[in-house]
């Protein structure tokens, strides 16, 4: 798991799982459709990523599909990092 994915995974575990919740979050665990992160909570996840990676993710790009797994979120982050560079 690369750094971006690890950061996303760790943030999801820290913020969206209760302490003591032992569910494993992998790169492909469904986050939105799996009920771990909902569309409202996505806002704080997006805000975190924007701060951490100094990028701006337009709302239209922050879809429930794009934010459904650690893998797909990392793709979004990577794309906007490239756009910034």
């Amino acid at each position: 798991m690369d750094d971006i994915k690890r950061v996303i995974r760790d943030y999801v575990v820290k913020e969206y799982l209760e302490e003591g919740d032992d569910r494993e979050i992998t790169e492909t665990t469904p986050l939105i459709s799996g009920g771990i992160v909902d569309s409202f909570s996505m806002v704080s996840l997006k805000r975190f990523l924007e701060r951490k990676y100094e990028i701006q993710i337009p709302d239209a790009e922050a879809t429930t599909t794009a934010f459904d797994t650690v893998d797909s979120i990392a793709v979004v982050v990577g794309r906007f990092q490239k756009a910034r560079a």
């Binding site: 009920g35 409202f40 429930t64």
Partner: protein, 568 residues
């Protein structure tokens, strides 16, 4: 069961009486009426025991099917289990679960046992949970392993909470007051005498938010069945062969009135997808399950719109024949889009936790005016009153308060522990919904907005007081105000204005930290989507924070009279 779609509005209203539902259900006034029995045993007695009642699917693709006989036997088993735990009539039993079968069947089991069922949204944080369990003096909570962690945080401050029932405990160690309940291995109970509740016996306690104070428990009774049965039949147009999908979570009133009681009292097959929103998965589910009637919400519809009609075309959704929507006003664009995407309009329905059933609506077969809430359900006297005199406007087109004449079967009977707040909902003999609307010359209602500070986000009401109280618990926050701001998907979202204590610096990191704090304590719905750090908040000379000034600022509306505000 035949469709009533061909009936005109006038035909439905003419000679209407709620006894239509009583006769169809075989209920005679004065006799026992238990929602749990009517949704299970009665359907089996009609020869439908083998008919699928619930086709359930998880986000992982796990599937379970329950017939009406399964519902009957398993709800008996849960009722019997609860009784053996020492629970009895009138005890509040909270359901705190995702949309798993145990939630739906547990709802019926609690009612059969004679308990008052208290469903709560499983995304609630421990503070929201505490507020509601403490107010209701809840005796037991049925929950899942992943949610019991929140219960454990607060159980020691809830002396009335005698039992914490975990439905998927497996080999996990249990703690104080916890017991395991495995629905699949629970002994089947063929015969169980459902509690002989009467029309006015309390049934369901749904918490809802207001402008002031903490959330209030709208208390419903078993007689609500009469209205929920008939509105489900007439408005959702449920018929014998339908496959019905209600998107609402039973933690909210739509999920119980029309996600449990309405469809099952009508003997209809319903499907449940226990998964978060994702357009493709939803369409695939409709295609696979051949859904015919779909009850959704404007926020979901707008999210689907965002994904476009091309995605719709990739699925065979030809099974759909009737679409309805609830939660917040359905904008005209969404109605027009649904015609283009599905070949069918979404029919808007208006009601609220306190009304227990749909009260203003667009019927199947009724001309839909995109953007309108529709017309009153027969048996519901609805009007728009002048906010100063509380008299109905004599002419159409004037904007006033939506008012209902009390007395329909599913109207709440009180707010739990708070009769004063309940009485406060009435003026001049009218029940005031807290919404503003106008009525056009043809009798269609047109929603304008809320008449108070309650925030309607994604179809869920959030009270500013609860958010502000939680904000004040953050060490950096000195003062706070929570208001709505417009949002293209959720209609409204929460925005907080905050002043900081000395020594704290405003900035994006603090904003994110406060947002996450509120999400964990209360719920994702209550989390401010934006926090504005300000030097001071507008206040009256007596020091009361004036939210309306901040709200007007967010909506670009006139702030009104500010002569009584304190000068900074």
């Amino acid at each position: 069961m035949t469709s009533t779609a061909a009936m005109s509005y006038e035909e439905r209203v003419a000679g209407f009486d709620w006894s239509i539902a009583e006769r169809e259900l075989g209920y005679r006034p004065g006799e026992p009426i238990n929602i749990g029995w009517y949704c299970t045993d009665r359907i089996c007695e009609q020869g439908l025991a083998a008919k699928p009642a619930l086709l359930w699917e998880s986000h992982l693709g796990e599937e379970r099917t329950y017939t009406y006989d399964d519902l009957r036997i398993l709800s008996n088993a849960i009722a019997d289990y609860l009784r053996r735990l020492g629970l009895g009539p009138g005890d509040r039993v909270c359901l705190f679960m995702d949309r798993i079968p145990e939630l739906y069947i547990g709802f019926l089991g609690v009612l059969k046992m004679g308990g008052i069922v208290q469903p709560l949204f499983s995304a609630f944080g421990d503070e929201s949970l505490f507020t509601r369990l403490n107010d209701a003096k809840t005796a037991a909570i049925i929950t899942q392993k992943k949610h019991v962690l929140k219960v454990r945080k607060i159980r020691d401050t809830l002396p009335a909470l005698r039992h914490i029932i975990v439905v998927d405990a497996g080999p996990s160690p249990l703690q104080a007051r916890e017991v395991a309940l495995d629905l699949e291995s629970l002994p089947r109970v063929e015969r169980f005498d459902a509690y002989p509740s009467t029309a006015e016996t309390p049934s369901v306690l749904h918490y809802t938010s207001g402008t002031t104070g903490q959330p209030k428990g709208a208390q419903h009774v078993h007689y609500s069945l009469i209205a929920q049965y008939l509105t489900a039949k007439w408005v959702l147009d449920l018929q014998a062969d339908d496959v019905y999908w209600c998107n609402a979570d039973p933690g909210w009133v739509t999920g119980t009135s029309y996600g449990i009681i309405g469809p099952w009292a009508n003997g209809v097959t319903q499907v449940v997808l226990d998964a978060g929103f994702q357009a493709e998965k939803w369409y695939r589910f409709i295609e696979k399950r051949r859904v015919t009637v779909w009850y959704s919400a404007p926020t979901a519809i707008r999210l689907l719109m965002r994904e476009g009609t091309e995605l719709v075309r990739r699925f065979d959704l030809s099974s759909l024949r009737h679409l309805c929507s609830v939660g917040e006003p359905l904008n005209a664009e969404a109605v027009i889009w649904s015609r283009e995407a599905f070949g069918l309009p979404f029919h808007d329905t208006f009601w609220q936790t306190e009304t227990g059933c749909i009260v203003i609506t667009n019927f199947a077969g009724m001309p839909v005016k995109p953007g309108s809430m529709g017309r009153p359900f027969p048996g519901i006297t609805a009007t728009v009153v002048d906010p100063r005199t509380f008299e109905p406007y004599p002419e159409p087109g004037r904007v006033g308060l939506i008012a209902l004449r009390p007395g329909w079967p599913s109207m709440m009977r009180s707010y739990w522990n708070n009769p004063t707040a309940y009485q406060g909902k009435f003026r001049n003999g009218w029940y005031l919904c807290g919404d503003r609307s106008s009525i056009d010359p043809e009798g269609y209602f047109w929603f304008v907005g809320r008449d108070d500070d309650v925030i309607n986000t994604g179809g869920h009401l959030v009270g500013p007081f609860e958010i502000e109280s939680a904000l004040l618990e953050h060490p950096a926050v000195a003062e706070s105000a929570a208001v709505s701001k417009p949002d293209p998907i959720n209609m409204e979202v929460v925005k907080a204005f905050v002043t900081l204590k000395p020594g704290f610096a405003a900035g994006p990191d603090l904003e994110l930290e406060i947002m996450n704090t509120i999400r964990r304590k209360l719920s994702p719905l209550a989390m401010p989507q934006e926090i504005e750090f300000v030097a001071s908040l507008p206040k009256t000379r007596s020091g009361k924070i004036v939210r309306r000034v901040l709200r007007a600022q967010e909506w670009g509306e006139p702030v009104g009279d500010i002569s009584t505000l304190m000068e900074e």
